[in-house]
């Protein structure tokens, strides 16, 4: 029978986020420390208080881990950001020509006009979303063990650019909520790209450790 203290679980999303940002060498110690203290606090002050405490620790820890990435591996982390930007620069120009080339190749405008309209508008936005996802993946691949630090930086850069664009639209009276939604989805896609690479690497790291011979 498991003791009640071991059945208490911290917020899953917070656990997942901390795990994403922690380098594999520190992951076991940091996750273990957070879980141990969470159990202590839950018993002393209640689960709700402990969950709030866990979230606070998780968010502060993530900020520190991003800072640590730039101190411990400044070149690789910065190279990840630069690699992501380069990938964006190379790929984003291809989205529209590629979609229109495919539409024309299969004579979609002549036979399925509604489909053509969808791909010429929403399809292009989806294409850009995929480019941003790919950009996050490239940043994470280049940044080695600091995948999420590079992806977060890149995402923050685009979020700042989106913010500036929003201010400019509002000033010019061209505010469009749908455009804004797509732009912020793009910045979120960078993070998802980083998270995909990180999750794959963590799984490989874990399976690698499991395959190590017992000493």
């Amino acid at each position: 029978m498991t003791s009640p203290s071991f059945s208490l679980q911290p917020p899953r999303l917070a656990v997942w986020l901390v795990n994403l940002f922690t380098v594999p060498d520190n992951a076991e110690a940091i996750m273990g420390d957070l879980l141990e203290e969470f159990s202590q606090i839950a018993h002393q002050a209640g689960v709700v208080f402990a969950q709030r405490w866990y979230w606070r620790q998780a968010l502060k820890t993530i900020v520190h881990l991003i800072g640590t990435a730039y101190r411990a591996a400044p070149w690789w982390t910065s190279a990840g950001v630069a690699g992501g930007m380069l990938a964006h620069r190379l790929l984003w120009r291809l989205v529209e020509p590629t979609i229109f080339a495919v539409l024309v190749r299969y004579q979609i405008p002549e036979h399925h006009f509604n489909v053509y309209v969808f791909f010429a508008s929403t399809g292009i936005d989806i294409g850009f979303l995929i480019v941003f996802l790919f950009e996050g993946c490239i940043a994470a691949i280049v940044a080695k063990e600091r995948e999420m630090a590079a992806a977060t930086t890149l995402s923050l850069i685009y979020a700042a650019l989106c913010g500036t664009a929003v201010v400019s639209w509002v000033v010019q009276g061209h505010f469009a909520l749908s455009r804004l939604t797509w732009d912020f989805a793009d910045t979120f896609a960078i993070l998802i790209g980083g998270a995909i690479v990180r999750t794959q690497r963590s799984a490989r790291h874990l399976s690698g450790n499991e395959n190590l011979p017992n000493t």
Partner: protein
């Protein structure tokens, strides 16, 4: 100055916590010791960021303990201060004392 480094404020606090805790120094106890004595909320990320930096400088060493069930089967990472770390903390302590000597900080500014 190469080889004559002083500890930063938080590094100083972390090394002092390690010296206080001796064999019991790992993430949770270090974080709690700092909170208890300084009354400031510290994140586990800040503690590890500093400990990693101190380890790179050769001021602390770490070793893994056994996995425990209350940590979900994860092991603890224990830390201890090296001789170089003790020298650095003494040097920093002496510098601070020398700078504050004669100022009567507690009497005049509290």
């Amino acid at each position: 100055m190469a080889g004559r480094d002083y500890l930063g404020e938080f590094e100083h606090i972390v090394v002092l916590a390690l010296l206080r805790l001796e064999e019991r120094a790992y993430g949770v106890t270090v974080r709690q010791e700092i909170e208890l004595r300084t009354h400031r909320e510290v994140s586990i990320g800040a503690v590890y960021a500093t400990l990693d930096r101190l380890e790179t400088k050769g001021y602390v060493k770490s070793y893994r303990g056994d996995p425990t069930p209350e940590r979900g089967g994860r092991s603890k990472r224990f830390f201890r201060v090296t001789a170089k770390g003790v020298t650095a903390v003494n040097r920093t302590q002496r510098a601070l004392q020398s700078m504050s000597e004669g100022l009567g900080l507690i009497e005049n500014y509290s």
